[in-house]
Amino acid sequence: MLTESFTIGSRTAPSRALFGPHETNLGSGRALSDRHVAYYRERAAGGCGVLVVETASVHDSDWPYERAPLAADCGPGWTAIVEACSPALVLASLGHTGGQGSSAYSQQPLWAPSAVADAVSRELPMVMEDTEIAVLTAGFGTAARLAMASGCAGVEIEAGDRSVLRQFLSGITNQRADDYGTDKARLLREVIAAARAAVGDGLVALRLSCDELAPWAGITPEHALELVPTLDVDLLTVVRAGPYAGSAYRPDAHVPEGFNKALCASVKAVARCPVVLQGSVVSEAFASSALAEGGCDLVEMTRAQIAEPALLQKLRTGAAPRPCVLCNQGCRVRDARNPIVSCIGEPRSGHELSDALPVDGGSGEVLVVGGGPAGLECARVLALQGFSVEIREAAEILGGAVLDAALGAGRERLRALVAWLAAECDRLGVKVVLGHEVLAAELSSYSGRVVLATGASARDTGWVDARDALRGVLQDGPVLVHDPVGGPVGVSVAEKLAADGREVRIVTQDPIVGTLLSLTGDLADCNTRLQQLGVPRELKSLLRRASGGTAVLEDVWTGAQRTVPAAVVVDCGPRLPREELYETGMLRAGDCVAPRTILEAVLEGRRVALELGA
């Protein structure tokens, strides 16, 4: 069913997969760019059914992030995307983030139903008066007219994760005494009507938070079930999001796939239009069964199509799509630094105009030393280009450091990426030799070209390496997890050991644990999980030494020292490149150049392969 076409009102989508609106930072000023067009074109060519463009602000009082599109500037971009993306249905997402926006770019007060500060920014908004409400409603109408004039199949109104419309619907953020407070859905209905009047025979879709996860005052599923039948829309995407819901809208792999399924099915039962299931749906199996069960009509598979632009096309031909592993490391780009949307497994995502595709015509033999993500991706792309490729891997299994990382709590899905890479290498005829540690002498006698992807090794700290700890090689007694990095590793080690029943504490020099996880959305969540697991967080502290069952920690500001129980210290610090085989001028990729993340490993593995094929 997923790959079959589906009719919505007057329009037909070529498949039941939806590519949802998300921040890309691909914009040029506040307009949609050529990079946007190329990004969406690949997903449409890959069989996407409904493609919802990055949300555009309907009025210049809303400028939530620097590269946020502004509807008034989006006409040419929408036209170019529509032209590039046939036959996918292209919807323009229209929104206003209200009190969840930012005043940093507009330098104007935020607009919101009531004087309630956003929980994250703590910035107090101005209370919208009749003037602002009229401007906002008119803005939706004007933007919808422009979207239709630009060739879009319709518009999607944003009342989900960050939206002034949701803020009006919610008792947390709407404390008004006027009609818009006593009838909290009034503004939404007026906006839908304005859009309806503007789109003619086009579609009015709605992305609606049906659960703010704040039942004391927020939107609850019960509210949503009352509201939905009253709404005049053609397509409804059911999401959960709210002012205190943090990462709930698009969480990482700590939350199970398809977490909105039951909520969505209950909404579908009362809806007068087709309903879209949203929320970490990344596998064909889950999507198809959700459709078959009848709890939804379409499935949003945004991250799955960031990871695999040709998702539907591959499913139609029986090929295996590159899996999304729900890591949020490359694709969640709501960050002041304006990173470009991308993917750890498909680093070309977001870089469609600059990154080359493999071309046939390679010949000769290439030896890839190391079967982690860098080596596997290199071998895969070399084989695609016609090279005869052999991987020699020291371990008895392919996957490298990813296999160990995937032992960490909440990171199990990472294994799917290297499994896919290994299966692709197998399918493409890559020869794999396992349990074979390549020595320098062997390389000097090898006649073909060589690529090193030998990974990294632990620093010499005298403590237990994180990889060993994850494999379960750990003596008894209290554990101190030393995490100077603040990435996903330290947290996942601590959580796994705590779940295994070990007494664990985690030490960091930072005021919170996991500072680098702000990018993935897991920052607040991981600190919450650790506290729920009873893992003491030794914050703002340096590990000075450990012996005899205790460790000495030092306050980073005051220098005051204290001891904590620590029979074992697990070091989750940065690693060192394995350079034993390297000689100047050799090709290499990934951690053996500099130990970093899967993204860089895959990117460099591919780059080396493309370089050899050029």
Binding site: L124, R337, I512, N527, Q531, T558, P574, L576, P577, E600
Partner: protein
């Protein structure tokens, strides 16, 4: 004879003659657009040149494609920058001021986020901020680095710069090589100081050969890295001596700290004493024959003049001082130094916006960062403008309106101007914050604003007066949290700072704002002998102090003053006693605190009574600042300015 004979005297620096000793030293602006210098860059530097700066040094220009630590970095290695360079240098030279370009490779103090390339550094040691393990440079890559500096120097020559400065100080590959903390190489570039300094001297030689004798070459060195195992002053002086001995370098600039480890000492806030880094130029100046620049919280000409007179430095970097007032030197020279809009060192809109990838601004100068946006011409017909409220929003509105030719009356109900600013600045460690309204009040007097104190405006009075325009800046009032009930010993921060409440004994400060309000009052009460704890629903107490580089000093002081910190808690109820029940929201568990007083640092309520009464009047009514929505001072200043310009 000038009042500042040392500061305003000329100085020869290599081939250049500077008219005075004030340097607008290099600093990030985030004005670059897609790797190229923008029109805003030219307008920004030109404003400081017009204001009389002796020497301008631009922000850094990246010398190699591997160096891209933040989005809006100038890609000096790309020849496409040259027209933008020319636009800057022409604009600055029009005022007779020399301008240098700063060249840099940030080395390991970067990530691959933008470059999608491995980060380069002497050794594979991850930076404390970016935490990405760099690639240890190979010898052929070191040659590429040196070539990159030479290439960018060529671009700078083509772009009309009078020379270049090499950033070898707080965020640079060269410092990475110089420092034993980050350089553990065993080849000719590691080990003894001569080896660690080898890259510097290769770059100096390559760049000098591009510049020739007609252009200046400076080197900026870090005098103390303030990190374990890092460079200290003795070695910095040794390097300076070696730089001098090359006879190829025209001056030495200085700095303190490492940008990715101890930024709070590089761009120190008002918590750090002025002149705190002058031990560095002092020590270096004794060891070298070339001019030395000193930097660090120079706010006024007197202070800078004395530092030169005392022999601490030959030149003084005044960066934030000229961000706040581009006419710093002109005003000093013309005998109106009292008119200088002195910097607060609050770091809110300059430093605070840099780390967030936003354009550089200034809390008290609404034109900073907007120099390239031309204001509409002042009106020909003077209007009679009434401003209600003398806080920063009303003062700024009044000053801008009067500057643009309007006849302005300002009504303030209190007996002094400044609104909440004097209250915030009444805490000793925040005293310099007062300058924002002190400067504005002086400006108001200068431009002829008719200020009426102790005059509480009424809607009837304003309607009867029927001015041509009204700007309401009536501010905000404390709002009592729902859980406080009518407990008399639950009070607002303003109650304490304005003297209406004097907590004693055990005090819990409830912080929902994450800024100076809670930490200031906590310090004040601890100083008065209270036992203070600060509780916040956030993950960190004083979260936004991180943006202004005040979090480090707050933590040190909090520890010294015995102030406890409690995070992740939300007040649920308060009963007589006072017993406050707090929910630890990550775990859903309740905890209680029994204290003598609770002080609330919570959102205020807009005082918009006049707005509600007057909106829809026959004359235009505008509102600005906290009476729209209570926020921070920068919003008040920007909105006051904007409303006045729009009249």
């Amino acid at each position: 004879m000038s009042r500042y004979p040392h500061l305003l005297s000329p100085l020869r620096v290599g081939p250049l003659t500077l008219k005075n000793r004030v340097v607008f030293s290099a600093h990030l602006t985030n004005y670059a657009e897609y790797g190229k210098p923008s029109e805003q860059h030219a307008a920004y530097y030109a404003a400081r040149a017009a204001g009389g700066a002796g020497l301008i040094i631009t922000e850094e220009h990246s010398t190699h494609v591997t160096d891209w630590p933040y989005e809006k970095l100038i890609h000096g290695f790309d020849p496409a920058v040259i027209p933008g360079y020319r636009r800057i240098t022409d604009a600055v030279h029009a005022h007779g001021v020399p301008i240098l370009a700063q060249l840099n490779h940030n080395g390991g103090q970067a990530s691959s986020m933008f470059s999608r390339l491995p980060v380069w550094a002497p050794s594979p040691i991850a930076d404390p901020l970016f935490r990405e393990v760099p690639k240890a440079l190979e010898l052929h890559e070191i040659r590429d680095v040196v070539d990159g500096y030479a290439l960018v120097a060529e671009h700078c020559v083509a772009g009309g710069f009078d020379g270049v400065e090499l950033q070898c100080s707080h965020s640079s590959l060269v410092r990475g090589f110089l420092s034993p903390a980050t350089n553990v190489r065993t080849d000719a570039y590691g080990g003894v100081l001569e080896n660690r300094a080898r890259l510097l001297f290769e770059i100096v030689a390559a760049v000098r050969s591009v510049l020739g004798p007609e252009r200046a070459l400076g080197v900026r060195l870090c005098g103390d890295e303030l990190i374990e195992g890092g460079t200290t002053i003795e070695e910095a002086v040794a390097v300076a001596r070696m730089v001098d001995a090359t006879a190829q370098v025209d001056y030495i600039n200085t700095s303190i700290g490492v940008a990715t480890a101890t930024l709070y000492m590089i761009e120190a806030s008002m918590q750090v004493p002025p002149g705190y880094a002058m031990f560095i130029p002092s020590a270096i100046r004794e060891a070298v024959s070339i001019p030395v620049i000193g930097v660090g919280r120079f706010k006024d000409p007197v202070q800078a003049d004395r530092a030169i007179a005392a022999g601490q430095a030959d030149l003084i970097g005044v960066v934030r001082g000229q961000i706040a007032d581009p006419d710093f030197v002109r005003k000093a020279r013309s005998g109106s130094a009292q008119d200088i809009r002195t910097c607060l060192s609050c770091n809110q809109e300059c430093v605070g916006r840099m780390g967030l990838n936003r354009w550089l601004g200034c809390i008290e100068n609404p034109r900073t960062g907007r120099e390239a946006v031309v204001l509409p011409m002042p009106t020909r017909r003077a209007q009679r403008v009434l401003v209600v409220g003398g806080g920063p929003a009303g003062l700024q509105a009044a000053v801008t309106a009067a500057e643009r030719g309007h006849r302005v009356t300002l009504l303030e109900k209190a007996d002094r101007l400044g609104g909440q600013v004097p209250v915030a600045a009444s805490v000793p460690s925040r005293a310099e914050f007062l300058d924002i309204t002190r400067n504005l009040a002086a400006a108001a007097q200068r431009v002829g604003v008719d200020v009426k104190l102790q005059h509480e405006a009424t809607a009837d009075e304003i309607t009867a007066d029927a001015p041509d325009a009204v700007i309401l800046a009536t501010g905000a009032v404390p709002a009592r949290p729902w859980w406080a009930g009518d407990l008399t010993q639950v009070v607002d921060v303003r109650d304490v700072l304005e003297g209406r409440a004097s907590p004693r004994g055990r005090v819990l400060v409830v912080d929902e704002l994450g800024f100076h309000q809670a930490t200031s009052v906590a310090e004040l009460l601890a100083d008065r002998g209270c036992f203070v704890e600060v509780a916040t629903p956030g993950m960190v107490v004083g979260q936004d102090l991180g943006i202004t580089l005040d979090l480090e000093t707050w933590n040190v002081k909090a520890d010294a003053k015995g102030i406890a910190q409690l995070t992740d808690v939300v007040p649920m109820s308060a009963t007589e006693g006072i017993t406050l029940t707090l929910q630890h929201h990550p775990t859903g568990t309740d905890l209680t605190r029994t204290v003598d007083w609770v002080v609330c640092a919570v959102q205020q309520r807009a005082d918009d009574a006049l707005w509600q009464a007057l909106k829809g009047s026959l004359f235009p009514v505008h509102r600005v600042g906290d009476c729209v929505a209570p926020r921070r001072a920068h919003a008040a200043v920007i909105e006051g300015h904007r409303a006045a310009v729009a009249l």
